[in-house]
């Protein structure tokens, strides 16, 4: 806190009238640095250093019980020559693409409804909060709560049988790709809704009226006016959903009953076997993949401008 006071004092000096422009620039810099110091320290010790550590350890060797410093490419060689790696990465991307497509359509519809169909601000806030509240509760509990629905004797199967739609319980409801993607959609649609809703609320309503006045149909207004103006929100939502799904390991493990694999599970399995160097190498490849995907998505949007 004394840092802060000092900074404030500095700022006070600079804002005093009659000060030279030059010194103002310098102490603005100092102010910025001091105020962002705690943030920088946290990010340095718990983000940058861990990444550096993972990169270093990815070149280390491991015995059954311990890891030892080395500089070898064994981990990467094993990883990049194993067909398992490619099928697991492919599966991870499959989950990401399918979840992305579903959450995009669903999230866009929800955001559109909230932004353009709900007419009073109070109702907008109430309905928006209803969508947001589950985000502040436990993901693990939300996954567990699908069991009574999807199990062999669960609600979905009993309902379908009693309606005469099926004779035998469906086996693919739980512990399958279906349940994994269902859980992803359940957990992450919100990350699409919020940024899209945010950009939609900033669209000038007169633009839409203008489109109608010029004879555009509802669909034409949607594709020519609303979607282009909502693009930044869509991109931010996409970044969230894609990275969350690609980095996940717990949802896939839990919802597939350990029967499906993605990269996150590859890493956590290595960790469970104390094979940290090989886990680190997989983590490095995963990080590179995620950063490439984000790099592509960021080409379409300037995040700093969108806040």
């Amino acid at each position: 806190m004394s840092d802060l006071t000092q900074t404030m004092a500095l700022e006070a000096q600079t804002s005093a009238p009659g000060k030279a422009r030059k010194s103002l620039g310098l102490s603005d810099t100092v102010t910025g640095w001091l105020l962002s110091l705690p943030l920088t320290l946290v990010l340095f010790f718990f983000l940058v250093l861990p990444i550096v550590m993972i990169v270093i350890v990815s070149f280390w060797g491991a015995t059954e019980f311990s890891i030892y410093p080395a500089f070898q490419f064994d981990n990467y060689e094993f990883l990049l020559t194993s067909p398992v790696t490619y099928s697991v990465f492919l599966n991870t991307i499959k989950y990401a693409v399918i979840t992305w497509a579903i959450t995009l359509v669903l999230g866009f519809t929800i955001a559109y409804f909230l932004a353009f169909h709900v007419r009073t601000l109070t109702w907008q806030i109430v309905l928006f909060l209803l969508c947001t509240i589950p985000f502040w509760t436990s993901n693990i509990i939300r996954m567990i709560s699908w069991i009574p629905f999807l199990g062999r004797n669960g609600i979905a199967n009993s309902a379908l049988i009693s309606m005469g739609v099926i004779d035998e319980p469906l086996e693919w409801l739980l512990f399958s790709d279906f349940s994994v993607i269902l859980a992803f959609v359940h957990l992450y649609t919100l990350f699409m809704v919020v940024p899209i809703f945010n950009t939609m609320m900033r669209i000038d309503k007169s633009l839409i009226e203008a489109a109608y006045d010029n004879g555009a149909t509802g669909f034409q207004t949607l594709t020519n006016v609303i979607i282009p103006l909502t693009k930044p929100g869509i991109m931010i939502g996409s970044i969230f959903v894609v990275t969350l799904v690609m980095g996940d390991f717990i949802t896939v493990r839990f919802m597939s009953g350990s029967q499906k694999a993605n990269v996150g599970r590859l890493i956590s399995n290595d960790i469970a076997l104390l094979q940290y160097p090989s886990a680190a190498a997989t983590a490095v490849i995963l990080l590179i993949t995620v950063l490439i995907v984000i790099g592509i998505l960021l080409r379409f949007v300037d995040i700093r401008k969108e806040l």
Partner: protein
């Protein structure tokens, strides 16, 4: 009022279905947690009882859930306070560009999108290799900050982007020091948003799993304890626990939201008396 288009009804139906999809499972386990003692993990209900809630208080049935709850609660408060303070400072810093601000900004984004297991693995490796004790209040605390701070900061950036600077200029013109301006003008104006940041800080920490997995050490936080239970508990006791922690989260959310509403009301009441004829 203007007539609703047909698309309204279609979308309202989608929205309603989405809410059922969001809340249905949680409501279901809330009902199932009241299963009778012979009941299983799904319907039908075999009687109604508090048996499974009672089980939660039997140490041997569920392990150390109350200890882990206490740890998660304390950790949540630590993370919450840190997130609010650091986010406000960061928000103030980012009002002007300074050398290095671009790098810090991209680090914040990286912190948000990096797969959680990398933080867990990296922090765990650093602590174990340098001989430091892996503990929820040190390594766990730092790892969780990498998840809560980006949310806090993004909220603060959005707040300060919309902040009317003329309030500060007015304060300065009347002779307030920079510190007084922050403390008496800026902070009270952004106070409801700070409650929001606090809500994110607490709940995201309280529910965090992946970033604490390898950084909590020998004493589990509540999500880790619940996760451990999923592999070896096959009775509705896990639903009872899920119902209780969800209820707890809902109470916390309600407290924060009510605080914001009260704050806004009070502000509306004690607002400006300009134009009211007081001389």
């Amino acid at each position: 009022m203007e007539k609703r288009p047909r698309s309204f009804y279609v979308m309202a139906a989608v929205f309603g279905a989405f809410l059922i999809f969001l809340y249905g499972p949680t409501v279901t386990i809330a009902i199932l947690s009241f299963q009778g003692p012979q009941g299983g993990l799904t319907f039908p209900m075999r009687g109604v009882s508090l048996h499974w809630f009672h089980e939660l208080f039997q140490q041997q049935a569920v392990g150390d859930i109350w200890g882990s709850f206490a740890r998660s609660f304390v950790l949540g408060l630590m993370v919450m306070v840190t997130t609010v303070v650091v986010s406000v400072m960061g928000g103030l810093a980012f009002r002007k560009r300074f050398p290095g601000s671009g790098i810090i900004f991209y680090l914040i984004i990286t912190s948000l999108v990096i797969p959680s297991i990398l933080i867990s693995l990296g922090v765990g490796l650093i602590f174990s290799q340098s001989g430091l004790d892996i503990h929820w209040s040190t390594s766990g605390y730092g790892s969780q900050l990498t998840w809560t701070l980006p949310f806090g900061l993004l909220i603060m950036f959005a707040v300060f982007n919309r902040f009317d600077k003329s309030y500060e200029e007015a304060a300065r013109d009347q002779g307030a020091t920079a510190w007084q301006t922050i403390w008496h003008v800026v902070l009270p104006i952004i106070a409801p948003m700070l409650i929001g940041v606090a809500l994110f800080g607490f709940t995201l920490s309280y529910d965090e799993f992946a970033r604490t997995l390898l950084t909590a050490g020998s004493y589990n936080t509540l999500p880790l304890e619940i996760y451990g239970m999923t592999t070896n508990v096959t009775t509705p006791v896990i639903f009872a626990l899920g119902t209780l922690t969800t209820a707890f989260s809902l109470v916390i959310i309600a407290v924060f939201l009510v605080t914001v509403v009260i704050m806004n009301r009070r502000r509306a009441r004690q607002g400006s008396d300009a134009g009211k004829g007081m001389v």
